[in-house]
Each structure stands twice: as structure tokens, then as C-alpha cells.
């Protein structure tokens, strides 16, 4: 564990240096402990793969006090073993119709489209971080056989719900945006809905599974093909 001053009102807590479920579980546990320890002096928390950015109110406390309380809070932390996280299932219509890069990715990997779909949907993922855009959840790790680098030229428009792969990460685009990830399907579940409570179906630390669905089922669940 390492703790550094990150700015006038922020400290950065590192709980590891790589992407792994264990380290992610530690980030989760630390987030809960720090939230309890800092109480109303806490302004915001940004958990990521192996770190936790802690933002505090600099007029109510100072970096010495925050560092001390964070150290104490995480010292007694049970960081062994998996914390109990939720499992969320997201339906995906995998098809060249919704996944413009599905055929190319299969070809490069020397696999059939069915095999790519199987490898993507039979892996259990973990939400490592949320960022880039509201509700954009970074899920890992994708099976090495279907890992694919980002496109050389990002697309101007990736539709909402697009399921995509970049390196060993996968994600569902929460809103229409530009994007450079490889598209393999489309999910009808809204990943970010400002009018819903909660606004996101997943949180950092959750486990996610993808369930292949038919075109008909996709449309039935409210999926859009445009």
C-alpha cells in the first residue's frame, strides 16, 4: 500500500500495480473503509484498477489528518479473499449486424464467429473502473485469444449499447459517442440512465456475465438497431 499527496485536496492510495480481481477487491474494501473513516470531510472517491483517489474538503481538514485516518482505516482491512460482490447479467445480441468488427476479429484470431461469442460470453468479468464517459464501465479480463488492439482510426459514431473489446478489456457503450474499440454486438440494457435510480446497473467491483440472445429477443428487450 502506498499513499501520496495528489493535489491540494486529494490523496492517492495505491493497492497494487496490476489488474487483478484480488487488487480490485482491495480497492473496493478500501473505498468502503475510507468512506467510513473520513465521514463528512470526504468530497468524492474515484476507485480504479489498483488505486483509490480520495478527495477531501481542504478547509475542514488537512492532508496530515487525512493521511493518518486513511492509513488507520486501511491498516486493519481484510484484503484477503473475495469480497461479496453482486453478479449482473447483461444480454447481448452478437451478430455482424450489430458487431461491425466481429468477423474481422474472428478472422485475425483464427476462430469462428461462434467461438468468439462463446469465449466472450463464457468469461466472468469484473468492473474494474468507471470513467471516460458517464456510466462507461471497464470490464476485464477478456480471454487472451479474443483480445484485440484499438482501431487505428476511431469511429466517429458508436451507438449506445455497443459491446466492444479493446486489448483485454470489454465494455458496453452507455451513450452514442466516438470510439475506437472493436464492436462485437449490442446490449439492450441501458448502462447509464440519468432518470433511473440507480443510474447504472453496475458498480465498481461487480461481476458481470454476458448472455447471448437472438435478434428477436434483443428487439423485445427494447434494443435498437440504428
Amino acid at each position: 500500500m502506498e499513499l501520496h499527496q495528489a493535489g491540494e485536496c486529494a490523496v492517492m492510495l495505491y493497492l497494487g500495480t496490476t489488474t487483478s480481481p484480488d487488487i480490485s477487491a482491495r480497492v473496493q474494501a478500501a473505498a468502503t473503509a475510507v468512506e467510513r473513516a473520513l465521514g463528512e470531510h470526504l468530497v468524492d472517491l474515484v476507485p480504479s484498477y489498483a488505486s483509490l483517489l480520495i478527495i477531501y474538503d481542504p478547509l475542514a481538514t488537512d492532508h496530515y489528518a487525512v493521511a493518518e485516518r486513511v492509513r488507520q482505516a486501511v491498516a486493519g482491512l481484510d484484503t484477503t479473499g473475495e469480497t461479496d460482490s453482486r453478479e449482473i447479467c447483461l444480454p447481448v445480441y452478437y451478430d455482424p449486424e450489430t458487431g461491425a468488427d466481429l468477423e474481422g476479429l474472428a478472422e485475425r484470431a483464427g476462430l469462428s464467429i461462434q467461438e468468439v461469442i462463446a469465449l466472450h460470453s463464457e468469461t466472468e468479468y469484473r468492473v474494474y473502473a468507471i470513467g471516460f464517459a458517464p456510466g462507461f464501465a471497464y470490464l476485464g479480463q477478456v480471454d487472451e485469444r479474443i483480445a484485440a488492439p484499438r482501431l487505428a482510426t476511431p469511429r466517429q459514431r458508436v451507438p449506445r449499447g455497443a459491446v466492444a473489446i479493446a486489448d483485454r478489456q470489454t465494455a458496453v457503450y452507455p451513450a452514442e459517442s466516438p470510439g475506437g474499440w472493436n464492436l462485437i454486438g449490442r446490449c439492450p440494457t441501458r448502462m447509464f440512465d440519468p432518470d433511473a435510480e440507480p443510474a447504472m446497473p453496475v458498480a465498481v467491483g461487480d461481476r458481470v456475465r454476458f448472455e447471448p440472445i437472438s435478434r428477436a429477443r434483443f428487439l423485445e428487450l427494447g434494443g435498437e438497431l440504428s
Binding site: 493535489g7 480504479s48 488505486s51 464517459a133
Partner: protein, 312 residues
């Protein structure tokens, strides 16, 4: 009761203090680029510090009052006219139904704040009215003000008319110093690179917006290209592969993987955000302790500025 937008100017956004506590779902904070001017606008009007005002970037805003209210404009000098009569900024004015309020283009700096007594009444999203166009969130409909927009507010016929004496008006210089807390990733920047960063002037480039200000000058080399994505705090100074620093502002992404050489003091970032392309920036290293003291001093100063009453 409302203000009706006749001309929105180049970019006018509704802002309260910002959206906090939602970075875990990827929502950035938004909020005023110049928090001091935003705070003083609300203080002069006797408003809550989190009241919603219009942040006017560059100028060109024209609004019409549909009922009586009190109005105040603070921040970068954008000549203010009420019914074509010049009026002081940093001063609360009584306006009547039908009055037209116009802000010309900024003579120096580029952000001003137009507020009314009681604040503008728009429903908060995720606890805040701050507009973040990139997220299509906040304000009236998640974007900049448009002609014909109606900004609801309360009808106010009486209240205290206050002003900030001219000797306290901020000066928006074209050449500023950003105090920087050197970052924990500084091990990736050699002593020479750090010295280069702190001893040269940088220029504000064309790519400057509410997400970040890109600065141009001697390239800073870093011995890594990227890091495992992590949270980015306000004022963080990223060094991408081309070595040109980017100071991250209110609408920054919440996480990112560029190495950071340090984080600038918010008080100075507010001055940076008042610069337009061509503005000059120097960096000076300070300790976290000195930063903490500076914040307390600024807070004390802000709370103790004399805001005398005047009568008409």
C-alpha cells in the same frame, strides 16, 4: 418570473458550485471555472453560495427580465449595459420587468458570472445544476444557453444593494504563475525535465476548453508512456506523449492513464481558465503545506471582503 435569453453569446452555461460525489459513476464535477467570481456574485446578491448563475464565456449574452429582480455581474470585464446604459460590474442593480441586460465581449479575461437574487431555479441533476455539455447533463437541457431559453427565477422587489469597491476588483493578467504541488509520479520525470518544466514559460494553445487547457512550450519527456488508469484530481497536469502539458479543469474525465507531473493550485487554475489562447503561464513548485495555507488565506479574504451597501 424569469430571464429570457435573447442572445446566448459564444458559450453561456448555468453553473452552481459543481456536482460532487458522483465520480464513481463517471460524472465529472463541472461548476464555475472561476469559483471566486462565482462566489462573489452570489455573496453580493445575498444568495446561498451554491445558487445557480450564468457563466458567460467570452461575452455576447443578452437577456430580458420578465419581472422585477436584483442582478449582478462579476468576473472578467465584459461591459455591462442595462437598457443600453453602461453599468458597473461587481455591483447589485435593480432591474424591472422588460429591462434588457447585455454583456459585451471581454476586455480581459474571458469568464463572467451573471446572477439574480435567489439564484436561477432549475432542477438539479445528480444533486447539482452544473452544466457539463460533454455529458449532456445539468442546466436547462445539458447544453449551452440558446436564444429563447427561459431561465426561471423569483420576483424580488426589495433587497440590499451591495457593491465590491473598485480597489478590490481582480485584475485578469495575460501572464500568470501557476503554483504546482509536484506529483507523486515525478520519479518518471528526470531532474532535468522537472527543471525545464519549472523554468520555462508556456503559452495557452488553441485547444483549451472546460475539460483542460493545453499549454505549448518546451516538451517535457517522461520515461513512461502511460500508467494504469487512475482517478484524476482537479488541476492535475498531464504530460502526454508529445510532452506538451495539459492542465485538467472542471469537465475533465474522471480517470485517465497519462503520467502527471503535478497538480496546480485551484486558486491559480481559476486565473488560468480566464486566459485565452496566447496567454502566458509559468509554473512554481509549492509544498502541500503551503497550498493548504494559501487556500485558507484565500477563503478568509473572500469571506472578509468589504461589500458596502449603497442607496439610489
Amino acid at each position: 418570473m424569469s430571464l429570457e435569453v435573447l442572445q446566448p453569446g459564444l458559450m453561456s452555461l448555468l453553473q452552481d458550485r459543481g456536482r460532487f460525489g458522483r465520480q464513481r459513476i463517471g460524472l465529472t464535477t463541472g461548476g464555475p471555472l472561476d469559483p471566486e467570481a462565482h462566489a462573489l456574485c452570489n455573496r453580493l446578491l445575498g444568495n446561498d453560495g451554491n445558487a445557480t448563475v450564468v457563466e458567460v464565456s467570452f461575452g455576447g449574452l443578452v437577456v430580458k427580465a420578465t419581472e422585477d429582480t436584483l442582478l449582478c455581474v462579476t468576473g472578467a470585464p465584459m461591459p455591462l449595459r442595462i437598457n443600453d446604459q453602461p453599468r458597473d460590474m461587481w455591483r447589485v442593480h435593480r432591474v424591472a420587468a422588460g429591462d434588457e441586460i447585455a454583456l459585451d465581449f471581454a476586455e480581459s479575461g474571458c469568464r463572467a458570472y451573471l446572477g439574480v437574487a435567489g439564484g436561477l431555479r432549475v432542477p438539479p441533476r445528480f444533486g447539482s445544476t452544473a452544466t457539463v455539455p460533454r455529458e449532456k447533463l445539468g442546466g436547462l437541457n445539458g447544453g449551452k444557453l440558446q436564444p429563447g431559453d427561459v431561465l426561471p427565477c423569483a420576483a424580488v422587489s426589495s433587497g440590499t444593494l451591495r457593491y465590491l469597491p473598485r480597489s478590490y476588483w481582480p485584475h485578469y493578467a495575460r501572464d500568470i504563475t501557476l503554483r504546482v504541488i509536484p506529483g507523486y509520479q515525478q520519479a518518471h520525470f528526470s531532474r532535468l525535465q522537472q527543471r525545464r518544466f519549472f523554468s520555462h514559460a508556456y503559452t495557452v494553445g488553441e485547444r483549451c476548453d472546460r475539460m483542460g487547457y493545453r499549454l505549448e512550450g518546451p516538451a517535457i519527456e517522461c520515461d513512461i508512456e502511460g500508467i494504469l488508469s487512475e482517478g484524476i484530481c482537479f488541476g492535475a497536469i498531464q504530460i502526454p506523449a508529445d510532452g506538451q502539458p495539459i492542465v485538467l479543469l472542471n469537465d475533465r474525465q474522471t480517470i485517465g492513464g497519462y503520467p502527471k507531473i503535478g497538480a496546480a493550485l485551484s486558486l491559480d487554475v481559476a486565473r488560468l481558465a480566464q486566459l485565452t489562447p496566447g496567454g502566458r503561464v509559468h509554473f512554481a513548485a509549492i509544498t502541500p503545506h503551503a497550498a493548504h495555507n494559501a487556500l485558507h488565506l484565500a477563503d478568509h479574504r473572500l469571506r472578509n471582503l468589504p461589500l458596502p451597501e449603497y442607496r439610489v
